[in-house]
Structures are given as C-alpha cells and as structure tokens.
C-alpha cells in the first residue's frame, strides 16, 4: 500500500507539471483559490474569456482533452493519466467547468454514434473550447423521469421537425451546439419512442431563455423549439433508440473519478481556524470541534475513496462502485456546512454583501447555491436508488407506466 506513481505515471506527471508551470494563467490563481460554490470572481476579467483562452492554450499543446484519441484532438492518454492531469491542473481546473458537459457527455456520445466525418469536424473544436456544447435532456415533464420527455421530432423529407421545450440546460446561452433527445413515436411505451440528434444552437426556431434561479444567478436555461429543422444526418443512433444512446451519455457523467467534489469543508476549517467566539478561538469550542470532526471524516472519506478508484485505474482495472457515493455525500454536506458557517456568524450571518459579510460572503453564496447540488445531475433520491439497485442488487421499483403507450400515460395528478 502506497501513494507512489509507477515510473510511467511519474514521467507523465512531470511532463504535465512542467507544462502547467510554464503556461497556466497564474495571475488568476489566488482568485481561483478563493472561488467556491456559487461564486467564481476573477479580478478585471471575464471568467468565460479566461476559461476559453486556457482551454485553447491547452489544446494547442495537446492537453485539452488528454484522454481523447489524437485524431479528435486528444493525446490518447490512459484513464490514470487523465486523473494525473486533473490532479496537476489543480485549481486551474476550475476554469474547465463550462466545458465539462460538452467534453464529458456530448463528446463521448458523438464518438460513439456520429459518422467519421462528423467526428473529425466537430470534436476537435469541442475539445479546444472554441465551440461549446450543451445537453438538451431535462424537460418540465421529465426531470428524474427523463424518459417522460415530450419534445416531438417528426420526419419531413430528409429533415426532422422539432417542437417542444427543454429546461435546466446548463450553458445553453453560450453554447454553439447541443445534443437533443426527442420523442419520435408517442404510440409506443416511453423508453421505446425516443431518438437522439445533435444540432446547431443557432438554428432557426431555437430560443434560449435564461432561468432566474433561486440564488439570483442564471446558469441554466429554458430552450424552446419551434419548427426547428434538423437533417437526418445529424441523428445519433437509430430511430427509437434514443434511450440507449442517452445511457452512453449518462454513463460518462459518472466517470468523473478524481475530479474533486466540493464539500465546503476546507473553506469551513480555514474559517474556523481564524475565528474567535466570545474572545476564544472557535477551534477551542467543544461544539465546533465536534461538528468539524464529523465533516472532516466525510471529506477525508471521499478523498480516500477516490484514491481507491484511482488505484484501480492505475492497475488497469475498472474502479469498483465505491465512487458512486461522491455527489450524494458532498451535495448535502456543502449545504449543511454553509448553514453552519452562517450560524457561527450570529445575527451578522444574514449579511451577504462581499463588503459586509465575513470572508467576502462566500458562505452566503454557497448557502444560496447549494440546494441545486442535491438536484442537478441526479437527485439525492435517484442516486440512492442507483446505489441500492446497481451496487446492492435490490430489485427495481415497480414502474406502472413501463408498458403503457406514451400517449396514454396520465399527465395530471389531481384534476
């Protein structure tokens, strides 16, 4: 048992580290360190511009999507090398947030289902960040039950005509392309009538409306489709095979091993370390110590759980199911941490302005953003179902709509 790299891993790490040392946008390093959930602010710069510039620089040197094949803009790195890259990129990795969905989910789906010409055309600019992609899955009527989606695609000559509405689309407002799952046959059971496409977000009839979130920011969007035409050549997978295609996408979402999930703990510990309560250090307070200790072992538990998965990758094995706990643990933890940090501030914890609030209001921003972490990318409840069914082997839930034609499934609860 050890934490050492193999000689090849050490060589890769040294190469990655040297390149990052020479090229990373260090002028933003301290701002990025201070960034936490709900607040990333760079002095005198637009985060989007800085992120795109960093991504392009990496792409020119072959570091943008190291684990992708060379012909699509990567360097053919192994899974463990990908993890090492992420470790070395460290705080600058926060700049890749806007590319995660495109590169992590749309890219692999294109790789699996697009034609060779399409892959060579679309993937390199996706990797380099010159083109940003979004994923158009969730709908008002299909969140956790994503297969309940209602956006229609109807064949018309060589095109498909799309009508409907998506919601919770991250980054749609700055995206160039998207992958879109639609219903092509409402007369068959819900999983069987779906078809996947990719499209140009500038197509006529696509309207993106930012959602004003509960925390006042707008990271997500509603996307409306009115008679949008997509050529059949942009279909991904067979007609009616959209559900299987979407599973490829979602599988990739869960492969984010080694990416640090934010727990809020390092921020809270730093805060308590410099805080005084009634004239004595907060870290001398029994109640504070107890709370911190419980969160500390969750944070370290997650860290060493990812080390176990990384060790499996290092041996060329598939990681076990242990990594499935990450978002479930971190999501609710960061919310509790934020609430506790405000509690420690007493009545002044209510203040959220960077000028008035402690540590520039980072915990207030975290508090207001954190409810979403327990919902986005799979709710806590869906994640528990996944652990129970796929890891522990418990039977699936009874699905009353499974064999019913989609157009006969009730759409209202109480009339």
């Amino acid at each position: 048992m050890n934490f050492d790299d193999t000689p090849q891993e050490a060589e890769f790490r040294a190469k990655a580290r040297a390149w990052i040392d020479a090229n990373a946008p260090k002028q933003y390093e301290s701002d990025l360190r201070k960034a936490s959930l709900g607040r990333v602010v760079l002095k005198d710069a637009n985060v989007l511009d800085v992120a795109k510039a960093w991504q392009k620089k990496k792409a020119d040197a072959g570091w943008a999507v190291p684990h992708w094949p060379k012909e699509y803009g990567g360097r053919g790195a192994s899974p463990i090398e990908r993890v090492i890259w992420q470790q070395e990129e460290g705080v600058f990795g926060k700049l890749t947030a806007m590319f995660i969905i495109g590169q992590g989910m749309c890219g692999p789906t294109m790789m699996a289902y697009a034609s060779e010409d399409q892959k060579r055309h679309y993937l390199p600019p996706l990797g380099s960040g010159e083109k940003v992609w979004c994923q158009l899955f969730s709908e008002p009527a299909g969140g956790s039950d994503v297969a309940g989606l209602r956006t229609r695609a109807e064949k018309d000559g060589d095109d498909w005509v799309i009508n409907g509405q998506k919601i919770w689309t991250s980054g749609a407002h700055y995206s160039d392309y998207g992958i879109l799952i639609t219903r092509t046959d409402p007369t068959v059971p819900k999983h069987k009538g779906l078809t996947m496409f990719f499209l140009d977000m500038k197509s006529e009839g696509v309207e993106v409306r930012p959602i004003k979130q509960a925390n006042g920011n707008s990271d997500f969007n509603e996307v409306y489709f009115t008679n949008v035409r997509i050529p059949d050549s942009q279909r991904l997978g067979g007609v009616g095979d959209g559900w299987n295609v979407s599973l490829t996408t979602l599988m990739n979402e869960r492969m984010s091993i080694g990416a640090n999930v934010a727990t809020g703990f390092p921020e809270l510990f730093d805060y308590c370390n410099s805080l005084t309560l009634d004239g004595t250090p907060a870290l001398d307070d029994r109640a504070v110590r107890s709370k911190l200790a419980s969160w500390a072992v969750k944070a370290s538990g997650l860290k060493y759980t990812s080390f176990r998965s990384i060790s499996a990758l290092s041996k060329g094995q598939r990681p076990g199911p242990e990594n499935s706990i990450g978002k479930l643990v971190a999501g609710s933890m960061i919310q509790e941490v934020a609430m506790y940090a405000l509690d420690l501030q007493g009545a002044a914890g209510v203040l959220s302005g960077p000028e008035d609030a402690d540590v520039a209001g980072r915990f207030q921003a975290m508090l207001l953003r954190s409810p979403a972490t327990r919902v986005e990318g799979g709710t806590d409840e869906i994640l528990r179902n996944i652990i129970a069914e796929r890891v522990l082997g418990l039977p699936g839930d009874i699905r009353v709509d499974k064999d019913v034609p989609f157009n006969q499934i009730p759409t209202k609860g109480r009339a």
Binding site: M1, N2, F3, D4, D5, E9, F269, N273, L283, R286, R289, S290, L292, A293, S294, A296, V297, K298, S300, G301, L302, K303, Y304, T305, F307, R308, I310, S311, A312, S314, K315, E322, I325, L328, V329, E381, L383, R384, N385, I387, A388, E389, V391, L392, G393, L394, P395, G396, D397, I398
Partner: protein
C-alpha cells in the same frame, strides 16, 4: 498509486474469513453472550495456530512478523464475525504497549506467550466515567506496588497480565503518569466481571491491593506511550468496526431481498432502498478512512495520529449506523433475541466506547489538523 491491499493480503483475508465462518459462527458468539463461557477457548487456540495472534509481532518474539497491514485484514474479519475472544485487549493494546515500551526481558517473557495463545493481556486505563485523560488517573504507584481500582477493563477477568496506567507524580501534567506491567495471577488483584451492553466480550473491574507492579517504559513517559498505543489500537478497532458494518449491511440487504410485504420484496420499496444506500455510503467512507489509517500504521507515518482519529470516528459512525438501521430494515424480527441483529447492535455500541468515546477522538483529530495547519 497503489492505495489497496496486496493480492497476498487479500488472500489472507479470504483465509481468515473462511476460518472465522467455521470457528466463530453466530452460535459461538451467542455461547459467550449467554454466559456459557467467558470467551471462546477453541477459537483462541485456533487463532494462535493460524498465526493470527502474532501477525504483527516480530519473529524474535515468537510472532510471524508479517506486519500491520496483515493485522488490519485480520481485524476486519474478526469484526465481521464478532469473534468472542480477547483479541483487541491482548493484541492491539497489551502487545503494542510491550512493543513500544517494553524492555527486552518483558518482551521475551510475554510476547511469545501472546503469539502462542498462552497469555491474555489487557490495558487497565479507565477509572469510572470519563474519557482518557491524565487527570482522570487516580490510582497511584508506590514502592513497586499499586493500590486502587480500574474499571471498565476489557477482558480484565480473563487476562493474565495488564498494562496499568498509574500516577507517579502530582504536578497536574502528563508527566505524572507512568505505565506498569502487573502479573494478574501473582496476587494482590481481585477481578470482578461486570455486566455490559455486549456480553460477547467481557468487561471487568480490577481491584489492586498492593499488587506488585514493574515499570513499563520510563517513569513519566506513560501518557505519551499510551497515546501511541491508543492511536495504533484505534486503527485496528476501526477495521473491526468496518467489518461489522459491512456484515450488518449485508444482513439488511439479504433480508430486504427475501422478505415479502404488500406483495413484493421490501427491498423494492424506496424507503428501504434509501436506508440501505445510506448504510453503504457510511460503510464506504469508513473503509476509505481506515485504509489511510492502515497505511499510516504500517509505515509509522507522522500522520498516524490524525489518520487514526479519522478512521476511528468514521468507523464508529458507520458501525453504529449500519447496526441500528439493520434492525430497522428487519422490523419486529430485528428486535428478537433469535435474530442476530442485536449481536451487531451490541458490538457496535461497545466498540464505539472502547479507547474512549467519540468526543475524545474528535478532539484528537481537530488538535492534529490544527497543528498541521499551523506548521
């Protein structure tokens, strides 16, 4: 990175699991629980024959000298099987105190007997309610003898010798405390078994009345030796806790698959699934913290104190959580004497308090993190 046990260590785990499945089934645990024996002598002999008692004791003192990672592997299996033997007291506490602070003569006298199963040892630290603290130690040593009472002492009534923490000064500092080795069969000690929440492992009161006591380690070094012993034992007991947590999770999962209510397996209800998923989460966090503790223990790393506290806290939470939720999944049957759920519930709560309760380990963890931060 190779943050995992080796293939040989995994083989050892399989071997220990098979051995314990045969020698320490629930019926053997119940025999001790129900007072038919004070510990399982057959199992103890078997553990000696397998070389498990001396797995971290060097060959020169009769052990196999395999190492601490191997001991962690065995501890996990003992915890999973609820082994009703004085392993923790003898191996994690007494043997470790001897290895850290014993003279060559003391090691030569006792370690081979521990390895062979001939001697049971324990640590006599507590004196009634409260957590480990120099101030809580009242029992005093004078002229090579000890007088006073220690309780609870794990396995105190079946032990052959005890490492006793006693007061040798009154400055109010840690340097007041020294350790002594007392041969419990040499007279001057009365042992009384005490009722406890997990009778599958014994607790006792030891009353010393002029008992002959030889120093273990230098005078005034007692507290620092003790801290090191407790850190090591914390990692090992955490592995027992993880083993117990995993087994409780399995029991709950199996019952949820088999039990039918409302016309379907109860494991198909989300209310049950989510209980079991949360058990998996806490067991997984604990296991990962324990692996870090195992690494620190096996390399005698500077991080041991912090790693041990994290493993200890996390594993205590996980075992208590899994054992209590296992009963919940079982419903009424979980509260019968006949079902094994209560064996795990009892053990989880007893192990939570061995070596001091959560608040003690929380303090240890935060103190270490603070020191690291200041450095």
């Amino acid at each position: 990175m190779n943050f995992d046990f080796s293939d040989d260590q995994k083989q050892l785990r399989d071997q220990a699991r098979r051995f314990l499945a045969e020698k320490s089934p629930p019926r053997a645990v119940r025999a001790v629980l129900e007072g038919k024996a004070d510990y399982d002598r057959e199992l103890w002999k078997g553990l000696a024959e397998m070389g498990f008692l001396g797995v971290a004791i060097p060959e020169e003192f009769g052990g196999t000298g395999a190492g601490y990672l191997e001991l962690c592997v065995i501890a996990e299996e003992l915890g999973r099987a609820l082994a009703p033997v004085p392993f923790a007291s003898t191996v994690y506490l007494a043997a470790e105190a001897l290895l850290i602070a014993g003279s060559v003569e003391q090691k030569q006298k006792w370690l081979p007997k521990i390895s062979s199963g001939e001697a049971i040892g324990t640590l006599a630290l507590f004196e009634g309610t409260g957590n480990p603290s120099p101030k809580a130690i009242k029992i005093a040593a004078s002229n090579g003898t000890l007088s006073g009472t220690k309780k609870p002492v794990a396995d105190g009534a079946i032990a052959d010798f005890a490492i006793v923490a006693a007061r040798t000064g009154n400055s109010g500092r840690e340097a007041d405390i020294s350790l002594f080795l007392v041969d419990l069969k040499a007279g001057g000690v009365t042992a009384k078994p005490l009722q406890n929440v997990d009778p599958s492992r014994q607790q006792a009161e030891l009353a010393f009345d002029g008992a002959k006591a030889e120093p273990l380690g230098a005078a005034g070094e007692g507290w620092s030796i003790l801290s090191r012993v407790l850190d090591r034992a914390a990692v090992l007991i955490a592995f027992e806790q993880v083993g117990g947590a995993d087994r409780a999770l399995e029991m709950g999962r199996d019952y949820a698959l088999d039990r039918i209510a409302f016309g379907r397996p109860i494991g198909s209800f989300q209310a049950i699934k989510h209980i079991l998923a949360d058990m998996y989460v806490s067991a997984t966090l604990a296991r990962s913290n324990c692996y870090y503790g195992a690494w620190a223990l096996s390399t005698d790393a500077g991080e041991l104190a912090e790693a041990a506290a994290a493993a200890r806290i996390s594993a205590t939470q996980a075992f208590q959580h899994c054992a209590k939720q296992n009963i919940q999944v079982h419903g009424g049957m979980g509260f019968t004497w006949e079902f094994d759920c209560h064996l795990y519930y009892r053990r989880s709560n007893a192990l939570a308090l061995a070596l001091g309760s959560q608040s003690y380990w929380e303090d240890q963890l935060i103190d270490r993190m603070r020191q690291k931060n200041a450095a």
